[in-house]
């Protein structure tokens, strides 16, 4: 069993890792054809993974409803929402799923009048949480924190039109902060993260890092 759970995945990871790493340096048509085949397999596998996720979601909420755990009523909405979306999606304005997607169907109505506003509402919570976090936690406790605060205030004001009305030099200073210190910090973190990513990738390709196979050695 260990051969199938451990050895074969490690061999696949090694062969594919080395092959795709070297593929980057080989412009020949054979290499490009290999890339095309691998990408098509990747898209196919990613598509099938959707079923695993849907099963997990429904299984979890079905168990909650069955056992009537506290809050099981919310779980019924999962099935209700998924159910009517699937029904109207397949109904396709009367043309059913064998024909191309129709315009102005109930499915479109639910998308524009339920999903879009719900998603936008969740995103808009950020504004409130940002203000709350700023008031509670942005403190000039140390000299570094003070510099950070001053920079944050300048950028917050300089990045909106009112900044130019408060002081004409606010927007250029804000731009300088974004283009120089911010970019320097971003580049530093990016270089470190990239080196870390290469090292982790090498560990995975050569079988040193095996956690992705499912725990243990």
């Amino acid at each position: 069993m260990n051969f199938f759970k451990r050895t074969i995945p490690l061999i696949i990871a090694f062969i594919m890792g080395i092959m795709m790493a070297f593929q980057y340096y080989v412009p020949h048509e054979a290499s490009q054809s290999l890339l095309k085949v691998v990408t098509r397999w990747g898209i196919t596998i990613a598509g099938f993974a959707v079923f695993i996720g849907a099963y997990s979601l429904f299984h979890l909420h079905w168990n909650k409803i069955k056992r009537k755990v506290p809050g099981w009523g919310y779980s019924t909405f999962v099935f209700f929402g998924a159910g009517i979306t699937i029904i109207f999606g397949l109904y396709n304005g009367g043309e059913f799923f064998l024909h191309d997607k129709q315009e102005g169907t109930m499915f479109d109505w639910m998308y524009f009048n339920v999903q879009v506003p719900a998603g936008a509402t969740m995103f808009s919570i950020l504004a409130f949480f940002m203000a709350s976090a700023a008031y509670r936690t942005f403190r000039a406790r140390t000299s570094e924190a003070t510099i950070l605060l001053i920079a944050a205030v300048i950028v917050m004001l300089g990045r909106v039109p009112v900044g130019a009305l408060i002081w004409e030099y606010l927007p250029p200073i804000a731009d300088w902060i974004m283009s120089v210190p911010n970019m320097a910090a971003k580049r530093g973190i990016l270089i470190g993260v990239s080196i870390g990513a290469i090292a982790t990738s090498l560990r995975i390709i050569f079988g040193i890092e095996r956690a992705y196979l499912g725990g243990g050695d």
């Binding site: 998603g119 700023a134 283009s179």
Partner: protein
């Protein structure tokens, strides 16, 4: 003062709600001068001759609609006004409806014909994998468009075999797709790339601007407002600048007030 430091967060939420709502009711205009980052995209599209092909990737979901949809609409207005052929697609499944509605509504406003002047290819799963596929052969990546028409027969795609044949590609992203477009698209297939993103990931994109891996960047609602100003078509993004400015000032005042209370309570102790 201690009580003010530990104030119920709902009072802060109420202030923010008022700061957003009142400017929308008492309309006032604020000037929105365009920055050079946004000009980069505008100038590039303006320089394209009539009949050029521009690919717009609508890689955002409904949650980011308020920031990115105005960008998309402004871009589409600019392209259709300049008689540029627009090809739309998305790597985000939540974005298909938004992308389709934007491209269709703006196209109709200029009397453009679907399949002749613009097309929406739809959504494909796989992000980087789709980019590589499009880089080799766009028809194999999207054999049919969103409406089910065979892409090989579409007049709007005449002369376009792959990503290299597009005169400009713009990615409107709420996630990390811009970096993927740079690494798996521009680096491999060498085309001009512009980006639009939410304000939160805007700072992430500055290194790519400086290294000229992207020609221009629209960041957040302000980026969209600057583009609307450039195309002389002020709409929802410019209208959003007044509440955004007021909220920014409010947050700054909260920070200053919070620090004032912090130092005062500290001194008392």
């Amino acid at each position: 003062m201690e009580r003010l430091l530990r104030i119920d967060r709902r009072i802060i939420f109420a202030f923010v709600a008022a700061a957003v709502t009142i400017p929308l009711l008492i309309k006032f205009d604020l000037p929105v001068p365009a920055t050079k980052e946004v000009r980069g995209i505008y100038d590039k599209i303006d320089s394209l001759p009539e009949g050029s092909h521009v690919l717009i990737a609508f890689d955002y979901d409904p949650a980011s609609k308020e920031e990115l949809q105005p960008m998309a609409v402004a871009l589409l207005h600019h392209c259709f006004k300049n008689n540029i052929k627009v090809v739309g697609m998305t790597l985000n499944p939540g974005g298909t409806g938004l992308a389709d509605s934007a491209i269709t509504e703006v196209g109709k406003e200029y009397g453009r014909e679907y399949k002749e002047d613009y097309v929406f290819l739809g959504y494909k799963t796989g992000v980087e994998l789709v980019m590589i596929n499009m880089g080799e052969n766009i028809y194999s990546a999207f054999p049919k468009d969103f409406s089910g028409n065979a892409t090989a027969d579409l007049p709007v795609l005449k002369g376009v075999q792959s990503l290299q044949d597009f005169d400009f590609v713009v990615d409107l992203a709420s996630g990390s797709s811009i970096e993927a477009w740079i690494a798996f698209g521009k680096e491999k297939y060498n085309f001009d790339l512009g980006a639009g993103c939410t304000a939160v990931i805007g700072p992430d994109m500055y290194p790519f601007l400086q290294s000229k891996q992207i020609d221009g960047l629209m960041s957040g609602l302000k980026g969209a407002a600057e583009y609307e100003t450039l195309i002389e078509r002020k709409s929802s993004a410019v209208a959003g600048m007044s509440p955004q400015s007021v909220v920014h000032v409010l947050v700054v005042l909260f920070v200053i007030f919070g620090n004032f209370l912090y130092f005062m309570t500290g001194r008392k102790k």
